[in-house]
């Protein structure tokens, strides 16, 4: 008497997967072709290097130990700022969802942080913090409002019918929070976490460009720019995009795995 789930391993699903993959490959191919065409038209590798030069720059980077130190340094900063924004954002977001007084008192702070330009934040942070702390602080402040809002929305938008049911059965507030409000907020939370992670990468690298910690992707970018090595700048940027994509993918897999274990949660 079970409902049959849509067969995700069936031939139709496989065809759809192949189609999506083929479309993705086609998109990449067209972009690379366009890039090559523009590079040939511009005719200067200093202004606009072609894909082959960037791949060459990337190969040199991959062989260099300082690149891997930079990757580890940036990853540590991203991870730390991400964890901080998740921890504090979730805490204040949930508290705001449960208590209008907390929501109203935090609203001006959230609005201010949200409206502050990232560069202004990095520049101010440079007065206060060491070079390794600036990217972490800036990324945390940029990602924090996203996590705050996601957690708040998840709590506030919990199904009213389910809350009414819980009230009729006099479910204790702690159980209601842990078993109803928190799982109901999961979809909003994951979407927020994905956005926050992407933003952390961008802001950490931007912060490193300006604050110049010893090892960091942003430091590498800035050094390459100062040496007028445009292809290496693009290689550093490509490495950043790749790492950001990989970490977002890993987060998605983790969420899916956890969602599969919990089965039935609406994302």
């Amino acid at each position: 008497m079970r409902h049959s789930d849509p067969d995700l391993s069936g031939p139709r699903a496989k065809t759809m997967l192949y189609r999506r993959f083929a479309a993705g490959i086609l998109g990449v191919g067209l972009s690379v072709a366009l890039w090559q065409l523009l590079s040939v038209m511009i005719g200067s590798s200093l202004i606009f290097p072609g894909p082959a030069e960037v791949v060459g720059g990337l190969r040199i980077l991959l062989a260099s130990p300082s690149f891997w130190k930079a990757v580890i340094g940036s990853m540590e900063r991203v991870l730390l700022s991400f964890i901080l924004s998740i921890g504090i954002g979730t805490l204040t977001g949930i508290s705001s969802g449960l208590n209008p007084w907390i929501r109203d008192s935090l609203a001006p702070l959230i609005t201010t942080i949200r409206a502050t330009p990232v560069l202004a934040l990095i520049l101010v942070a440079m007065f206060w913090l060491p070079s390794t702390g600036v990217p972490i602080f800036s990324a945390f402040l940029m990602a924090y409002p996203i996590m705050h809002t996601s957690a708040y929305t998840g709590v506030v938008l919990a199904d009213k019918d389910l809350l009414e049911m819980a009230s009729v059965f006099k479910v204790p507030p702690k159980v209601k929070f842990l078993k109803l409000r928190l799982p109901a907020a999961r979809g909003h939370f994951l979407a927020g976490a994905k956005n926050a992670l992407g933003l952390c990468w961008k802001v950490v690298v931007a912060g490193e460009v300006l604050s110049q910690p010893r090892f960091g992707l942003g430091t590498g970018l800035q050094d390459a720019r100062l040496s007028l090595e445009t292809s290496t700048v693009l290689a550093w940027a490509a490495a950043t995009v790749f790492l950001c994509g990989i970490s977002e993918f890993a987060l998605g897999v983790l969420a899916k795995k956890e969602g599969g274990a919990r089965e039935g949660v609406a994302n």
């Binding site: 009230s167 059965f169 078993k179």
Partner: protein, 237 residues
């Protein structure tokens, strides 16, 4: 134990008058069906009894001090919890874990869902979700049991199955029960007392007692044909 009473209940939503001066008495350990056309205000009345809504006028007697179980129009199950955990969620106000577990397991067995105790609602059929919702309402040890169209929107076979399940569970713990339905035959199959509401604003237009013991009734039986005709006349008028 004295009966629960509603006296002169009126309810408006802005300019919309939904219930007008409704009074009724509900005997302890009896089943009352509130019958009326769709959209007449039956659910509103049930929500006033449960304390979810407040009446604009009138008194709800001893209802505010009672505890309630509610089987809603939709099953209202937590999709991320297993069948058993859904029951345990409703029972979480009970201090003793042993009692919680025992009641959840007992009512899962009674409702024929013991083999699905670890299954989550999205993997259950519509009928099983209804049964689980009914089991949850019975598992929660309340003074008053409220059922809002708990047997509607399913085919006749499943409806009779659900009503028989209701009778089976009700015999286990005979609670004061108020069923809201728009189906005359459902009301006559299950209730000791039937209250008929007019279309909006809902007023009490008829009240009757079903003279046949519940265990001797058959669904759609001709024994109650006179009552059935009377109820249809009331609703259609």
């Amino acid at each position: 134990m004295k009966p629960y009473e509603l006296r002169g209940i009126s309810k408006n939503f802005g300019d919309l008058e939904v219930i007008a001066e409704f009074s009724a008495s509900f005997e302890p350990s009896s089943v009352t069906a509130i019958l009326g056309p769709s959209g007449c205000g039956k659910t509103t009345l049930l929500n006033i009894i449960a304390g979810i809504l407040s009446p604009c006028e009138g008194s709800t007697g001893d209802f505010p001090s009672a505890s309630f179980s509610y089987s809603f129009q939709e099953p209202r199950l937590l999709p991320w919890l297993s069948s058993k955990d859904n029951l345990l969620f409703a029972l979480s106000g009970i201090q003793d874990k042993k009692i919680r577990d025992e009641r959840a397991q007992r009512f899962l067995v009674h409702s024929g869902l013991a083999d699905f105790s670890t299954t989550k609602p999205p993997q259950l059929s519509g009928g099983m979700k209804r049964r689980l919702s009914l089991a949850r309402a019975f598992a929660y040890p309340s003074d008053v049991l409220l059922l809002d169209e708990a047997f509607s929107a399913v085919d006749l076979k499943l409806r009779i199955e659900l009503m028989d399940l209701f009778s089976l569970l009700w015999r286990e713990e005979k609670r004061t029960t108020i069923i809201v339905t728009h189906d005359v035959q459902d009301a006559l199959y299950l209730a000791d007392q039937v209250l008929v509401l007019s279309s909006r604003p809902a007023r009490l237009v008829d009240k009757l007692t079903v003279p046949v013991a519940r265990e001797n009734r058959r669904y759609g039986s001709r024994e109650l044909i006179d009552l059935e005709e009377r109820l249809y006349r009331q609703i259609l008028s």
